[in-house]
């Protein structure tokens, strides 16, 4: 019940915003803020109560929706979705705050779309019905398209349509897979989209869904759908454009949450529902057996090197997040407790850290109105606080131990090493390069002599600090005591990995 409330409160907020007169901008912003804060409050409550059996009923709901196809409105949470919901709910108000000043036109439509987007994201992470899952997955498309296309940079139209077409293409394949799963889930009478049911069915020997070959194909279908979202090489080329053009807050959401939708889908569907398929692509036998890990490795190294070559601050961060998502893929490919835990941690942490990075880029852009890395220099003297926070974010992102970024990467690698020694060792290159491009950027932007152009660049203001501090604290706290996050999903992970590992043993 509460979960549904959390999902649809932003939608309600959208309606409210739409009813407000467009002139009263301050009011609109406040309303939007309130309606993004409510889910946050609920999410915190969720964090407190998610594993209390007597309160579980709060966090699940299952009502029939379209009986004809036996589609249900079935939402619920486990550790994984809970943590991502937490992330989404956290970034919501932060993005509203980040959009407070630098959205000049049509703040009303902007906030309305943003709230719709948040509903889509929350719903996606909570959905336990395959059809609902897909609907929410696509629901994020429209708002994103408009948010990039209307409020974006110079090449916004191109970026927006590119983003839209890519994701649509991926989701088309996913749709086929979904239909296939549905049709094979049983006799015409009792077909179902219910994910838990499907998972059990896929586990029962002899069932159509359990057939390894079938699972491989379905796996591929879903995988491409999610791979575009993650994005996994070679489906990644939409990401830099989208990021560069999108307004700050939208970049934050894009990197912070939307990318996670892809990886979340991989865990929820590809791993949990299709263990046979997963085993086939990660059993380490031959090229196919290593393909998933290979993609992870390519993402890591490729993303890092591309980032190294960028001179646009935002593009650099965008490519860096391609690299970091690579660790997630690698960890998931490992399929063992440590690897998957690392991957999930990395999802959350990258969400937080990349959000910070994009916010920081935005802060700089709002002041200097360009993002050319070589165009700055010596800012460390001019804006020490900004420099400090940026250094923190960079260090977290390049995986400095003691900050949250490290644990995700380290665990993904630790886990992956057990299964894919060579690829993992090669992937560590990414860590060095990661350090390289971040430090180099740090040097070019903040160190050295102050560029006279920016003699009087104003220091980061309180509102901006307010958006950054929670994320910064989270980065440090989770770096010191990751258990806060891990305890949420450790059971789910153990369950999942035992299944995967079992299937692997069987398949080998």
């Amino acid at each position: 019940m509460l979960l549904s409330l959390m999902i649809f409160v932003p939608l309600l907020g959208m309606i409210v915003v739409l009813l407000l007169p467009r002139e009263s901008e301050e009011l609109i912003k406040r309303v939007a803020l309130v309606f993004t804060l409510i889910p946050l409050v609920l999410a915190v409550y969720l964090y407190i109560t998610y594993n209390q059996p007597d309160l579980e009923h709060l966090w699940k709901q299952n009502v029939p929706w379209i009986e004809t196809f036996n589609i249900q409105y079935h939402v619920g949470i486990d550790g994984l979705s809970a943590i991502l919901i937490l992330l989404t709910a956290l970034l919501g108000p932060i993005c509203v705050l980040a959009s407070w000043r630098n959205i000049e036109k049509g703040i009303k439509a902007y906030m309305a779309l943003f709230l719709l987007l948040e509903t889509g994201m929350l719903g996606f992470f909570a959905a336990l019905d395959l059809f609902l899952f897909f609907v929410f997955f696509e629901m994020t498309l429209l708002p994103m398209y408009f948010l990039i296309g209307v409020w974006g940079g110079p090449r916004r139209e191109y970026a927006a349509i590119k983003f839209f077409l890519y994701t649509l293409f991926g989701s088309v394949l996913m749709l086929v897979a979904i239909i296939a799963v549905y049709l094979n889930s049983g006799a015409p009478g009792d077909r179902t989209f219910d994910i838990p049911t499907l998972i059990t069915l896929a586990g029962t020997a002899g069932h159509a869904l359990a057939d390894p070959v079938f699972q491989r194909w379905i796996f591929a279908g879903f995988f491409i759908g999610f791979a575009v979202k993650v994005p996994i090489f070679p489906f990644h080329t939409w990401l830099p454009d989208a990021h560069v053009e999108a307004p700050t807050a939208i970049s934050v959401i894009l990197a912070g949450v939307l990318l996670k939708m892809g990886t979340y889908g991989l865990v929820r569907i590809n791993m949990d529902m299709l263990p046979e398929g997963m085993a086939y692509f990660t059993n380490g036998v031959g090229f196919v057996g290593n393909s998933l890990a290979l993609l992870g490795f390519i993402n890591i190294v490729y993303g890092s090197f591309c980032a190294l070559a960028q001179t646009d601050f935002k593009k650099l961060v965008a490519y860096s997040s391609i690299g970091h998502m690579g660790f997630v893929i690698l960890g998931l490919a490992a399929g063992n407790e440590v690897g998957v835990t690392g991957a999930i941690l990395q999802m959350f942490n990258h969400g937080v850290i990349s959000a910070m990075l994009f916010l920081l880029v935005g802060v700089l852009y709002d002041r200097a109105h360009h993002r050319e890395i070589n165009g700055f220099g010596g800012l460390g003297n001019r804006m020490p606080i900004y420099t400090g926070i940026t250094t923190l974010a960079f260090m977290a992102s390049l995986g400095l131990p003691g900050l949250s970024g490290f644990i995700g990467e380290a665990f993904s690698l630790l886990g992956a090493y057990e299964r894919f020694q060579v690829l993992t060792i090669l992937s560590t290159i990414g860590i060095v390069v990661g350090a390289a491009y971040f430090l180099w950027t740090l040097q070019r932007v903040f160190l050295g002599t102050l560029n006279p152009k920016y003699e009087d660049l104003p220091e980061i203001n309180r509102r901006e600090i307010l958006t950054l501090v929670p994320l910064g604290i989270l980065t440090i706290v989770l770096g010191i005591w990751p258990h806060f996050a891990i305890e949420m999903f450790s059971e789910s992970v153990v369950e999942l990995t035992t299944k995967i590992m079992g299937t692997l043993q069987a398949s080998l």
Partner: protein, 737 residues
């Protein structure tokens, strides 16, 4: 009790930093950050001394479960044995002194508070590294000290040289760290844990004993070497040593604390910690790396003129010694040298600092000092750093000379340190530790009669001689003779008391009596190395632990024989005479030789630089190839910048291009095929070239649309023709089916 104390030790500096950070966010700064940080360090120092008596022979780690997923648990915790305490004391002691020194040295710097905050953060990280009981914890501290070193080297980041140096330091050490991390991954994959000592019998050290068979040995050796890579990076061993000299761009106290006494020694500490997992193979690698480093760095140091660089290279070379010692199994000797070196090298740096500071009166302050125009030109911000930037005048020994009258205290203290590092016998700690190492190496050489160790001993000996030479060269050029630069000389003056007091303290610490604190008999117990045995051809029983000097000899004058007895008794039981004989012999020979080479070194530099009996220049010209080799630091930097860095940058550019051309190119290929398909049934071709996936496919489909439009001529009879054509076509096709 122990936990509480360690907690205090860790939290004090951390709190000092946190306060700074919080005030920073509120856009102001804490009034007396310097006192705050210093106080915090002093508290930590006191606690460390209290801990001294808490040490028990075979301690339990105090751990908490940090992360636990299913069966696998990562614990975090403290492990307090004698080594830990020694490190704690060294770190807190030097750190406190440096704090005090900095109050004077950094006075007036615009970022004065931040400097102390960074120092505190560093101290915290270093202490955390030291007390951690597991590899993960060590790695965390490891990287954190790296960060602090980065921040402090780049403290005057307006200097491009500094900006480059700090980046270089971080990246170079990071390369080593990756090796370390891979090593950790290997260990984890094998043992499913990263904690070293574990009460419940599944710490790495207990598990490693279970290993057997050559396959395991090879694997373990590789793991050991990989972990050692981390140490190579941090402790600036060849080939990753190049960052340390550049690191001298940082303020001198930083050099003293981080790049002489503590952080760089962390590598040695790590290697010592991992002592039990070392195999003969990995030990030998470590020993060689250490030996080579010792020699190479020493030779480079001979020809430097920047006083700080000389010290930097000497640091590298001394660290090489320690590695050598541990590689050769002289565990205690290595740690002993670590401590003694920490003190006298810190002393040397602070001394040089006070000299530099003395020259500062005539210069404007640091941060606007080196940011003059011509340096601006070559700040092209490329990843390839330019280095060996011309020596700042206040660090150039050629501007100094005859300072001993000007700054007597500095002179005395530095002289003591120099004597100590050069290994002048009996009253200086350096002598004993170095001799312990030489003796240890020679001992193992004789005992295993292995060529390797004889060779290593040779290297160590040469290095010792050279060290004595260049250190006295420094002293002579700086303090003796006539002032070479009169005006600077006139400006020079003895430093403030805040700066002198630490010098004195360190000078006292450079006397052996102090080190008696912990290096008396079996205070440090050399851990067991389950997989290191004397080779078959050795003439001692295989399972004998070897290679340590007993400092009973040094401090209590116990006879060699007794020492041998003790040592034997320390063994599993049976000591045999050959073994003792080897060691008596080894120590005697080593002692004699080291005294000789030290004497030679000093004599030579006296002849060269004080009496001017020979001129260095003429020698330099005579052996110009060698001289150039030394002067260019064996061309390491050139190699790295020219090849590796360039390669990386090039590769990244390539990848970026790849992203634009090839990936999209592939899709364009697909698009072309798609176009062919359309063309097939539409009957036209589209030859325009566009790049970018979406607009490409769009172009293609678009063009296809255009083709269809052409059919839509607008003439009704065409339409009708299509209709009837369609009908006929359908009939024909489906007739055939």
């Amino acid at each position: 009790m122990v936990v509480t104390l360690i907690g205090i030790i860790l939290l004090c500096p951390l709190a000092a930093f946190a306060i700074f950070a919080l005030f920073g966010l509120a856009k102001r700064s804490f009034p007396r950050q310097d006192l705050l940080s210093t106080a915090a360090m002093l508290v930590a120092l006191v606690c460390s001394f209290i801990l001294l008596r808490e040490v028990v022979p075979d301690p339990e780690p105090h751990t908490v479960d940090w992360i636990s997923i299913g069966k696998i648990t990562f614990s975090m915790g403290f492990y307090l044995d004698s080594v830990t305490v020694i490190m704690l004391i060294v770190v807190t002691l030097v750190s406190s002194l440096v704090h005090i020194f900095s109050i004077g040295y950094m006075h007036g710097d615009p970022r004065y508070p931040r400097f102390f905050a960074y120092l505190s953060l560093f101290s915290f990280s270093m202490l955390f590294l030291v007390v951690s009981d597991n590899l993960l914890g060590i790695y965390i501290g490891w990287e954190l000290v790296g960060l602090c070193s980065y921040l402090l080297i780049g403290f005057w980041f307006e200097k491009d040289s500094a900006a480059n140096a700090c980046k270089k330091a971080f990246l170079t050490t990071r390369v080593g760290d990756i090796g370390m991390f891979i090593g950790m991954m290997m260990l984890f994959a094998k043992f499913k844990t990263l904690s070293l000592y574990d009460g419940s019998e599944n710490g790495i050290f207990t598990l490693v004993e279970g290993l057997s068979g050559t396959g395991d040995m090879i694997w373990l050796s590789i793991a050991g070497v990989l972990i050692f890579c981390g140490a190579v990076g941090k402790s600036a061993q060849v080939p990753l040593h190049t960052w340390l000299p550049d690191a001298m761009e940082g303020p001198t106290p930083v050099s003293a604390l981080i790049h002489a006494a503590t952080m760089v020694a962390a590598g040695v500490y790590l290697t010592a910690r991992m002592f039990p997992i070392l195999t003969p193979g990995s030990s030998l690698v470590i020993a060689y790396v250490g030996g080579i480093t010792a020699l190479v760095a020493a030779t480079i140091a001979i020809v430097r003129f920047d006083i700080k660089r000389v010290l930097a290279y000497s640091t590298v070379s001394q660290l090489g010694y320690m590695m050598l010692a541990i590689g050769a199994g002289s565990y205690v000797a290595g740690l002993f040298h670590l401590t003694t070196h920490a003190f006298f090298k810190a002393l040397l740096f602070l001394g040089s600092g006070s000299v530099i500071h003395a020259f500062h009166a005539m210069h404007a302050h640091h941060n606007d000092e080196h940011t003059n125009g011509e340096e601006h030109e070559h700040d092209d911000h490329s990843l390839v750093h330019e280095h060996g930037s011309e020596i700042p005048p206040d660090q150039d020994m050629r501007n100094m000379g005859g300072l001993r009258r000007k700054m007597p205290l500095t002179f005395i203290t530095m002289l003591i340190a120099t004597l100590s590092i050069s290994g002048v016998p009996f009253i200086f700690s350096g002598f004993w530790s170095k001799d312990a190492i030489l003796g240890g190496v020679l001992g193992r050489a004789m005992e295993w009669n292995s060529v390797h160790h004889y060779l290593l001993f040779g290297m160590a000996l040469c290095a010792a001689g050279i060290t004595a030479f260049y250190m006295f060269r420094l002293i002579f050029m700086t303090f003796f003779g006539e002032p070479r630069n009169q005006e600077m000389h006139d400006m020079a003056h003895e430093s403030l008391w805040v700066m002198v007091v630490p010098l004195l303290v360190l000078a006292i610490l450079s006397l052996p009596v102090v080190n008696k604190l912990w290096f008396n008999k079996d205070y440090i117990i050399r851990p067991d190395q389950p997989h290191v045995h004397a080779p078959q051809h050795a003439y001692v029983s295989p399972d004998t632990k070897t290679g340590d000097v007993d400092f009973g000899i040094v401090f209590f004058g116990i006879s060699e024989a007794e020492a041998a007895e003790d040592e034997g008794g320390q063994d599993i039981g049976h000591a045999d005479d050959a073994h003792h004989a080897a060691h008596e012999l080894a120590h005697n020979i080593a002692m004699v030789l080291s005294i000789i080479v030290a004497g030679l070194g000093i004599l030579l530099s006296w002849l060269f630089y004080h009496r001017r009996r020979f001129s260095a220049e003429s020698v330099a010209t005579k052996f110009s190839p060698v001289y150039n080799l030394f002067w260019n630091k064996y061309y390491f930097d050139e190699f790295y910048d020219g090849v590796l860095v360039a390669l990386t940058v090039w590769k990244s550019r390539l990848f970026a291009k790849f992203d634009l051309s090839v990936v999209d190119g592939i899709v364009n290929g697909v698009a072309t095929i798609v176009r062919q398909i359309f063309a097939a049934f539409i009957g036209f071709f589209d030859n325009r070239v566009v790049d970018g996936i979406v607009n490409r496919v769009a172009e293609v489909t678009w063009a296809a649309g255009g083709r269809i439009r052409r059919i839509q001529t607008g003439a009704i009879q065409t339409y009708l023709f299509v209709v009837l054509g369609g009908i006929v076509l359908i009939i024909l096709i489906f007739r055939a089916l």
